[in-house]
C-alpha cells in the first residue's frame, strides 16, 4: 500500500499545535511509536519534509533561500527580510548560501519558484541575445 505521508504529517501537526511543553514531547514520542508499529520509520524523512511544508503553510511562514556571491552582513540580511516580509506578507525564515559563481546580485528560491537576479544569469541572457 502506498503510504500517505502527508496525512501523517497533518495529523502530527494537529496534535501538537495546541500542546505545551511536556505534552508535545509525549505526543512526538507516541507518534514515533506509532510509526514503528506501522513499520513506517523508513518514510520518517518524507513525513518530516511534509510536516515542515504543512507547518510553514499553516503558520504563515515563507521559507526562502537567498544565494549571493559574497556573505551578507547582518544589516543586509535584516533589510532583505524586511523587504521580503512586505512583499509576501508572511513571516520569513531566511536561509543564506554563498555561491561565488553568481559574480554578483541575488538569487531567491521560494519553494518551486526562482527569482534569479544574479549577474551570472544576466550575463548568460546577454550572451544568448548577442549570439542570435
Amino acid at each position: 500500500m502506498k503510504v500517505n505521508t502527508k496525512a501523517y504529517a497533518i495529523a502530527l501537526y494537529e496534535t501538537i499545535k495546541d500542546a505545551k511543553g511536556e505534552q508535545s514531547k509525549t505526543a512526538i514520542a507516541n507518534f514515533v511509536a506509532l510509526l514503528a508499529k506501522k513499520n513506517l520509520l523508513p518514510s520518517a524523512n518524507k513525513i518530516m519534509a511534509d510536516f515542515t511544508r504543512h507547518y510553514n503553510q499553516a503558520e504563515g511562514i515563507a521559507a526562502i533561500t537567498a544565494e549571493t556571491a559574497k556573505a551578507l552582513s547582518s544589516e543586509e540580511k535584516d533589510e532583505l527580510i524586511k523587504n521580503l516580509k512586505k512583499i509576501t506578507g508572511k513571516e520569513i525564515e531566511l536561509e543564506t548560501a554563498v555561491k561565488p559563481e553568481l559574480i554578483g546580485g541575488l538569487k531567491l528560491k521560494i519553494g518551486d519558484a526562482l527569482i534569479d537576479g544574479s549577474w551570472q544569469n544576466q550575463l548568460s541572457t546577454l550572451r544568448k541575445k548577442l549570439i542570435s
Binding site: K109, G111, D112, A113, L114, I115, D116, G117, N121, Q122, T125, L126, K129, L130
Partner: protein
C-alpha cells in the same frame, strides 16, 4: 565591416540590454538515466511542456505526479547530473517548418544533420496538434499516383488517405515508399520521409537515390537513427507530421512516410516502462493505440474553404514471420484506410513488388482512381483472385477445361505485367496502356516469359510514336471509345513488329 564597427554595434546592443528579472518555476533532478529524468518540484508544469535542463538540453514532461515530474530528455542525458536545476518554459514542443526544411535532412527537433547550415525559418509548429476537425474535411477523391502498377491499379491511394505498408523485413516496404516519392516529381506534392530507428547507412543510400532522381527538390527527411535516444524515435513521426501540416495548411498536397511505426512503438514502450507506466499486452503501454491513432488522424484532405490541401500518410509496419495478428500490426491496420501487404514468399518467387493482392485493400477504393484506370483495372482484382485459386489446382497439372486454362493464362500474364523494378515508377497513362492490353486478352498470344520484354517494348514504342495518345489519356483521364480504338491500334501495330523481332 571592420572591427571598430563591430565593436560599436555590440556596444549599442549592450547599452540597450536590460535583463528582466522574473519569477520562474524550477525543479531539481532527482533521478536520471536511460533518456528519462525524474524531477522534484516544478509545481505548475503542464503535460508535454518543454523543460529546460540548461546547456541547451531540453526535455518534455510526460508524467505529472503529486510531487515529482517524469520527463523524457531530448538529447544527451549523460550531461545531466542529479540535483541540476530544471526550468519550465511554458511552451509545448515545437519544430521549425517551412520551405527551409525541403531538401534537407533534419532530426526530430528540426536541427540539421546534413551539414548544410542552419534551418532558416521563423515559423514553428507544435509537435502535438489536434487533427483537423470534421467540418474542415472533404472525402478523398483525387488519386496519389505511386507509379507502381499493382498499387495504382488495384489498391489505389488517394490524397489524404492513410495506407499502411506492412510486411516482413526485406520484402521491399521502403522500396515502395521511395518509388512513391520519386513518382511525385512534377506533381506538386511535398514529400516528408520520416526514418525511425533505421540504419544510417540505409538512409544515406536512400538520400543518394532520391538526389539522383531529382526527388530531393521537394522532399525532406526527418531522421531519428538507430543510435539516437528513444525519446527522439518517439517524437520523429510527430515532428515529420508537423512539417507536413505546414504545407497542407498552405493548400498543398503532402505525402508523409513513417518508416517504421513498429520501431516507434518499441521506443515508446521503452520510455513508458522507464516512467513506470503499467505494461499491457506485449508489454506495450495502454495508450499505444492512441499514440498511433492520433498521429494518423492528422492525415486529412481539407475542403476548399480551408485551402484544399491534403496530407497523405503511408505508415510502414514490420511484421515478424508474416504475423499480422500481433498487437501493433492489428492496431495500425484498424486505424488506417487499408493496407498493402508484402510477402517474402512472393518476393523470392521473383514477384516484385511482392504485393499480396488478396490481403491488400484500400478502403477508399476506386474513388481514388482516374476514370481510365477504373475502366481497365475494374475487373483486375477479381481476375487475380480467381487466378490464385485456380493456380493452386493447376499445379497438379493434367486435364483442365478450356475456361480454366484461359483464366490461368490471363492470370499468369497479369502477374507478369504487375512486376516492376525498383526506382522505375511508371506514369499513369502508360500503366493504362499495358493493363488494357493484358486484361483484354491482347497478350494471350505472347509467351509468358516474353510479356516483360513486350511491355518495355510497347511502352518505348508508344512513347516514340504515339506520344499524343498518352498525353490524351493523361489529360482526359478517361477512355472514350475513340481513345480506346487508338489504344487497340497501337497495341496491334507494336505486336506486329514484336512478332517480327521475336
Amino acid at each position: 565591416m571592420n572591427k571598430d564597427q563591430i565593436i560599436e554595434q555590440i556596444k549599442a546592443q549592450i547599452k540597450d540590454f536590460q535583463a528582466k528579472v522574473k519569477t520562474e518555476k524550477v525543479g531539481a533532478v532527482t533521478e536520471v538515466g536511460d533518456g528519462i529524468a525524474k524531477i522534484s518540484g516544478l509545481g505548475e508544469a503542464m503535460v508535454s511542456e518543454m523543460l529546460d535542463f540548461g546547456n541547451d538540453i531540453f526535455g518534455v514532461a510526460l508524467n505529472l505526479d503529486e510531487d515529482s515530474v517524469g520527463a523524457i530528455i531530448l538529447g544527451e542525458y549523460e550531461k545531466i547530473k542529479e540535483g541540476d536545476t530544471v526550468k519550465s518554459t511554458g511552451r509545448i514542443l515545437e519544430v521549425p517548418v517551412g520551405e527551409a526544411v525541403i531538401g534537407r535532412v533534419v532530426n526530430p527537433l528540426g536541427e540539421p544533420l546534413d551539414g548544410q547550415g542552419a534551418i532558416k525559418t521563423d515559423v514553428f509548429y507544435p509537435v502535438e496538434k489536434i487533427a483537423p476537425r470534421v467540418i474542415t474535411r472533404q472525402p478523398v477523391n483525387t488519386p496519389l499516383q505511386t507509379g507502381i502498377k499493382a498499387i495504382d491499379a488495384m489498391i489505389p491511394i488517394g490524397r489524404g488517405q492513410r495506407e499502411l505498408i506492412i510486411g516482413d523485413r526485406q520484402t521491399g516496404k521502403t522500396a515502395i515508399a521511395i518509388d512513391a516519392i520519386i513518382n511525385q516529381k512534377g506533381q506538386d506534392v511535398i514529400c516528408i520521409y520520416v526514418a525511425i530507428g533505421q540504419k544510417e547507412a540505409k538512409i544515406s543510400r536512400i538520400l543518394t537515390e532520391l538526389t539522383n532522381n531529382g526527388a530531393m527538390d521537394y522532399t525532406a527527411i526527418v531522421l531519428a537513427g538507430a543510435s539516437d535516444p528513444a525519446s527522439l524515435l518517439y517524437l520523429a513521426p510527430f515532428a515529420g507530421c508537423a512539417m507536413g501540416e505546414y504545407f497542407m495548411d498552405k493548400g498543398k498536397d503532402v505525402l508523409v512516410i513513417y518508416d517504421d511505426l513498429s520501431k516507434q512503438a518499441v521506443a515508446y514502450r521503452q520510455l513508458s516502462l522507464l516512467l513506470k507506466r503499467p505494461p499491457g499486452r506485449e508489454a506495450y503501454p495502454g495508450d499505444v493505440f492512441y499514440l498511433h491513432s492520433r498521429l494518423l488522424e492528422r492525415a486529412a484532405r481539407l475542403n476548399e474553404k480551408y485551402g484544399g490541401g491534403s496530407l497523405t500518410a503511408l505508415p510502414i509496419i514490420e511484421t515478424q514471420a508474416g504475423d499480422i495478428s500481433a498487437y501493433i500490426p492489428t492496431n495500425v491496420i484498424s486505424i488506417t484506410d487499408g493496407q498493402i501487404f508484402l510477402e517474402s514468399d512472393l518476393f523470392f518467387q521473383g514477384i516484385r513488388p511482392a504485393i499480396n493482392t488478396g490481403l491488400s485493400v484500400s478502403r477508399v477504393g476506386s474513388a481514388a482512381q482516374i476514370k481510365a484506370m477504373k475502366q481497365v483495372a475494374g475487373k483486375m482484382k477479381l481476375e487475380m483472385a480467381q487466378y490464385r485459386e485456380l493456380a493452386a489446382f493447376a499445379q497438379f497439372g493434367s486435364d483442365l477445361d478450356e475456361a480454366t486454362k484461359k483464366q490461368i493464362n490471363l492470370g499468369a500474364r497479369l502477374t507478369e505485367v504487375l512486376k516492376q523494378g525498383q526506382y522505375e515508377p511508371m506514369p499513369v497513362a502508360q500503366q493504362v496502356l499495358i493493363i488494357y492490353a493484358a486484361i483484354n486478352g491482347l497478350l494471350d498470344d505472347v509467351a509468358v516469359e516474353n510479356v516483360k520484354t513486350f511491355e518495355t517494348g510497347l511502352i518505348k514504342y508508344a512513347v516514340a510514336h504515339t506520344k499524343a495518345l498518352l498525353d490524351k489519356i493523361a489529360k482526359e483521364k478517361a477512355l472514350s471509345p475513340e481513345i480506346e480504338a487508338e489504344v487497340k491500334k497501337v497495341i496491334a501495330e507494336y505486336k506486329q513488329t514484336f512478332a517480327v523481332n521475336d
